[in-house]
Amino acid sequence: MLVNQFLILAAVLFCIGVYGVIARRNAVMVLMSIELILNSVNINFLAFALRNGSVDGHVFALYIIAVAAAEVGVGLALVLLVYRNRKSIALDELSEMKG
């Protein structure tokens, strides 16, 4: 197995996630795209952990999983709050702070 096959898979997933963040209008879909991005980072960490023969990458991958869980919890609470106030979670309608 090459190092690059894992890194390029992670790069492809990352770019698909970036496309999702840019293209999606629904807040829940944007959160899902962010999950794609975080997962691609995890694949990178574990590939480099195997390449360097070190355990540090595993520790960081576990920390990223925990932070991602916290992020989804707070993010969905925010989405719920926005929905309760506006009956919509379209991100382009949230323009009150536009100058």
């Binding site: 197995m1 090459l2 190092v3 690059n4 096959q5 894992f6 890194l7 898979l9 790069a11 492809v12 997933l13 770019c15 698909i16 996630g17 970036v18 496309y19 999702g20 963040v21 840019i22 293209a23 999606r24 209008r25 629904n26 829940v28 879909m29 959160l31 899902m32 795209s33 999950e35 794609l36 997962n39 995890n42 694949i43 574990l46 952990a49 195997l50 390449r51 355990v55 540090d56 595993h58 520790v59 991958a61 576990l62 920390y63 999983i65 925990a66 932070v67 991602a68 869980a69 992020e71 989804v72 919890g73 707070v74 969905l76 609470a77 989405v79 719920l80 709050l81 991100l91 382009d92």
Partner: protein
């Protein structure tokens, strides 16, 4: 080695197709189910990378907990579960050149810096004991910080989503 490469190819193809469906499908629940496929594929890749503990954690946390959160969020913020027309921005097509440019730059950088470098083939599975020795040894302070992050996130989510 050949078997591992074939497994990698199949799983990678499934993951890329699933990820593309996540960002293109017009149904939030279907997107969540495609995301399950991508996350399971990522767990399989972790096993190929000799990271079995992270793979099991991925299945437990992502497929078990995060997907339930997503489905709850979908259920609580949408009246109907069918197709929806307005899931994309009006200028969604701008994302295609942006992400393709990013992908081109990253693949160029990766091929020029790693080329044909091979992963070591004789490495054994990383034991859970080795990971816990790291977490509760040199990485203890980030572990504490992470505990506080999770606590604050739980309290914050409760405060934000409370009715009154």
């Amino acid at each position: 080695m050949v078997a591992q490469n074939i497994a990698f190819g199949i799983i990678a193809a499934i993951m890329v197709v699933g990820a593309l469906r996540v960002v293109t499908v017009n149904n939030v629940v279907h997107a969540a189910l495609w995301l399950v496929l991508v996350l399971a594929g990522a767990a399989a890749q972790y096993v190929l990378l000799t990271a079995e503990f992270v793979a099991v954690t991925q299945v437990l946390v992502y497929i078990g907990a995060v997907m339930v959160l997503f489905l709850f969020g979908t259920m609580l913020t949408r009246a109907q579960l069918g197709k929806e027309k307005l899931l994309n921005n009006p200028t969604w097509y701008l994302g295609i050149p942006a992400s393709l440019l990013l992908l081109g730059v990253m693949i160029m950088a990766l091929t020029s810096s790693f080329g044909d470098e091979k992963l070591p083939t004789d490495s054994e599975l990383v034991s859970t004991q080795a990971i816990s020795d790291q977490i509760f040894g040199p990485y203890l302070l980030p572990f504490w910080a992470l505990s506080f992050v999770l606590l604050v996130a739980v309290i914050g989510a409760i405060v934000l989503a409370r009715k009154d």
